[in-house]
């Protein structure tokens, strides 16, 4: 049986091509499980997974939880609102207490970049990063990549444009590393104040003109633009953002035939993307959500070290 090179998934930077390929192929088998009437396999029976969410999240948490349940794992959820974090317990104490209750795997969402890495130093469980600050969100990028791979049969040689708040986006960072490893050509586009310092060192094409970025692209992955960035003075108004970077029907003409529209959600309809585009036949936005579950099942399964026959 093939195995991943690491027992954690902290990010996609430095994850080898073989591992990403293995995850994508494994996702394919679990994708089929989701479409069954009985959407459940015994693969992770007896394994306990903690969903440790220090930041609010709806879809990622639900997606992980469903993935765990469909694999027959026992799951427990921890969110800041119901925990003793507010009493000032440190992250180390929190997870060590929970681990003392015999947890095998931890899915963590945290506002501090590197927090999942820190957890690997605090506990023995397998750690899966479900988003750490502006650093990485590897399962989101993997589901994006799976969705593209499923449609085109390859990632190699495709032109993929990531549009939005590059500076604060963990989804973009993970997509950059994963897509580049798989041989895709990656372009970044956003207002210059939302492009981080020395962004060109990622080795992507960088644009501040959306029309130039879209020209000849196969896939556009549109990121949510957060109102708080406007409040902190990084761009003047939502209206101007929409005019300069919003994805509308007219701009789609610049794309290659058989193009694809993606969005990791939650969408601001009418801001970064028009409803017409989001709901069009080329949009795979809901397919992404379904695939997300399968990707997370694959990651949980591969990191658990379980063999299929054990299940």
């Amino acid at each position: 049986m093939s195995r991943l090179h690491s027992r954690h998934l902290l990010g996609l930077e430095n994850v080898p091509e073989a591992d990403i390929s293995l995850i994508l192929k494994t996702t394919n088998s679990f994708r089929e499980v989701i479409d069954r009437t009985i959407k459940k396999v015994p693969t992770l029976r007896g394994i306990t997974v903690l969903n440790l969410f220090y930041e609010p999240s709806t879809r990622t948490r639900i997606s992980f939880e469903l993935a765990e349940k469909r694999l027959s794992a026992d799951t427990v959820n921890f969110t800041t609102s119901t925990s003793s974090v507010k009493k000032g317990e440190s992250l180390r104490d929190t997870v060590q207490n929970i681990e003392a209750m015999k947890i095998d795997m931890v899915v963590v969402r945290h506002s501090s970049p590197g927090a999942p890495y820190y957890l690997t130093r605090c506990m023995d469980a397998n750690i899966i990063n479900a988003g750490d600050g502006a650093h990485e969100h590897p399962t989101q990028a993997l589901l994006d990549m799976y969705t593209i791979w499923k449609k085109y049969g390859r990632l190699d040689g495709l032109r993929i444009v990531l549009v939005g708040d590059v500076k604060h986006s963990r989804v973009i960072r993970s997509n950059i590393w994963g897509l580049k490893t798989m041989g895709a050509s990656v372009a970044l586009c956003g207002p210059s104040t939302l492009l981080p310092y020395e962004v060109e060192k990622f080795g992507c094409d960088v644009y501040t003109d959306i029309d130039e970025a879209l020209d000849g692209a196969d896939v556009v992955n549109v990121m949510r633009i957060q109102l708080e960035r406007q409040q902190s003075g990084l761009f003047p108004s939502q209206r101007e953002y929409t005019n300069l970077f919003g994805i509308n029907k007219q701009r789609l003409k610049l794309l290659n035939k058989n193009f694809t529209i993606m969005h990791p959600g939650p969408m601001n309809r009418g801001v970064e993307i028009t409803s017409e585009v989001a709901d069009s036949g080329n949009s795979v936005i809901l397919e992404q959500v379904t695939n997300g579950q399968a990707v997370r099942m694959a990651v949980l399964y591969l990191l658990s070290g379980r063999k299929e026959e054990e299940g």
Binding site: E13, D132, R173
Partner: protein, 437 residues
């Protein structure tokens, strides 16, 4: 014993003293805490020493003997955070690092912005293993709003003023601080980082912060702060000392100002001379979180160039203890600062002297005579009649930095596990051995 001619003799060491000349083998005779004489080892001298009681002789054959090192930038945390460091433990760390004089910054709790707190520190420092000189606050409570009673602070013994850790953002306040300090002949020591530009920053803004998604503090925040204060220094004719210079452009600005005769001096820390921001992504080690942040390789090289060509006058550790409880957390939630007293000399030897940037003579000057001159401190020389503050160095000794060996109460060093060359053999304070290996 009552009529001993000498209390102690340091025999056969190689003297490195910026005032006396370099590389001489000599015997140092100590009496009543003072250096009585420094002589070349003639047969008569050797014979005289041979007749002394062995407990009176330190054999320094093959070792370097230098004036007690001086660190003009440390945080002793007392009063307020005695769990992280006390004046006593900080002085023990100083002694272990070869430092016999340290200048402590005023960002304690309460702040050192009044006579009572200066007096408290001075009292606590009595009988400790290093001389402690107090740096008072520029502004009350380090708030950057009103000048503290600087005259009072100087009267009781403050050797300089600084709002270290913070930057008086209001240029009018900084102007008045410089003007007022000028009246007493003391410099303002400045932590030069524009607070707006580096707000929220937890590491250098570079591709590394971009890659890691950590908020960056840009080099331009330091450059602008340095340029503003050089302009104010020129305008007021006061004395400005730039602390922990970390960027290429800040070095260039200071170099130019010095060439134009502006009364500015500068220091660099071992961590800015050795580390780069590429270290952070390896393990998110919170001991690498420091203000100003460790920068790019290019900045690091520029700081070394500045140190070599004299733009940067001295090396200071910015020893900043933090408890393990405070540092054992997520990277961006950790307080800024790392300890440095016990690793500075070895880092200078391993990364500056052995790599050919500095000679021993240059390095020792930047840790003795130069810092003494900047703050008009006694010490920094082995001249006859000086207090016997002496550091003896085993220059080729290889060692590995270990957390449990630190004398400091805090262990927040990113150099734990690093292999070093050059170690303090003994430290003498006023003729008393305060540290020995």
């Amino acid at each position: 014993m009552a009529n001993k001619k000498y209390d102690l003799v340091i025999a056969d060491g190689r003297i490195i003293d910026p005032a006396l000349g370099f590389g001489k083998d000599a015997y140092i005779f100590i009496k009543d805490g003072l250096i009585q004489k420094v002589v070349t080892p003639t047969a008569a001298v050797k014979k005289e020493v041979k007749n002394l009681d062995r407990s009176q002789v330190i054999d320094a054959t093959g070792k370097l003997v230098v004036p007690g090192l001086i660190d003009i930038h440390v945080h002793l945390r007392e009063p307020g955070r005695e769990d992280a460091e006390t004046i006593e433990s900080g002085c023990q760390a100083a002694a272990a690092g070869g430092f016999t004089s340290v200048c402590c910054m005023p960002n304690t709790t309460p702040r050192i912005d009044n006579q009572e707190t200066v007096k408290f520190v001075q009292d606590r420092a009595k009988d400790c293993d290093a001389r402690v000189y107090v740096v008072g606050a520029v502004t009350k409570n380090l708030e950057g709003k009103e000048l503290s009673e600087i005259g009072d602070l100087v009267k009781i013994g403050a050797v300089a003023i600084s709002d270290d850790g913070k930057y008086p953002q209001n240029p009018e306040i900084m102007r008045r601080g410089l003007e007022y300090a000028k009246m007493f002949g003391i410099p303002v020591m400045q932590h030069a980082e524009d607070q707006y530009l580096c707000a929220g920053g937890v590491m250098n803004e570079s591709f590394q912060s971009t890659r890691l998604g950590l908020k960056g503090a840009p080099a331009v925040a330091e450059e602008i702060a340095v340029l503003r204060d050089i302009a104010l220094c020129r305008f007021t004719g006061a004395r400005l000392h730039i602390q922990h210079v970390s960027t290429r452009q800040a070095v260039a600005a200071i170099r130019k100002a010095k060439a134009e005769g502006v009364n500015v001096t500068a220091e660099a820390t071992p961590h800015h001379l050795v580390l780069t921001d590429e270290e952070i992504g390896k393990e998110f080690n919170t001991n690498l979180r420091v203000n100003p942040p460790i920068r790019t390789t290019d900045d690091r090289d520029a700081v070394i160039e500045g140190l070599v060509d004299g733009t940067i006058d001295c090396i200071a550790s910015d020893h900043a203890p933090h408890s393990e409880e405070d540092k054992d957390c997520e990277f961006d939630l950790a307080p800024a600062g790392m300890i440095g007293l016990e690793t500075t000399l070895a880092l200078v030897k391993t990364y500056l002297i052995d790599k050919g940037y500095l000679s021993w003579a240059d390095a020792i000057r930047k840790m003795t005579a130069n810092p003494a001159r900047i703050l008009s401190l006694p010490g920094g020389s082995l001249a006859e009649g000086s207090p016997a503050d002496i550091t003896i160095i085993d220059q080729d000794k290889k060692w590995t930095v270990k957390a449990d060996k630190f004398r400091s109460k805090s262990k927040n060093s990113p150099f734990i596990g690093w292999k070093m060359k050059g170690q303090v053999y003994k430290t003498l304070l006023g003729g008393r051995v305060v540290f020995e290996q």
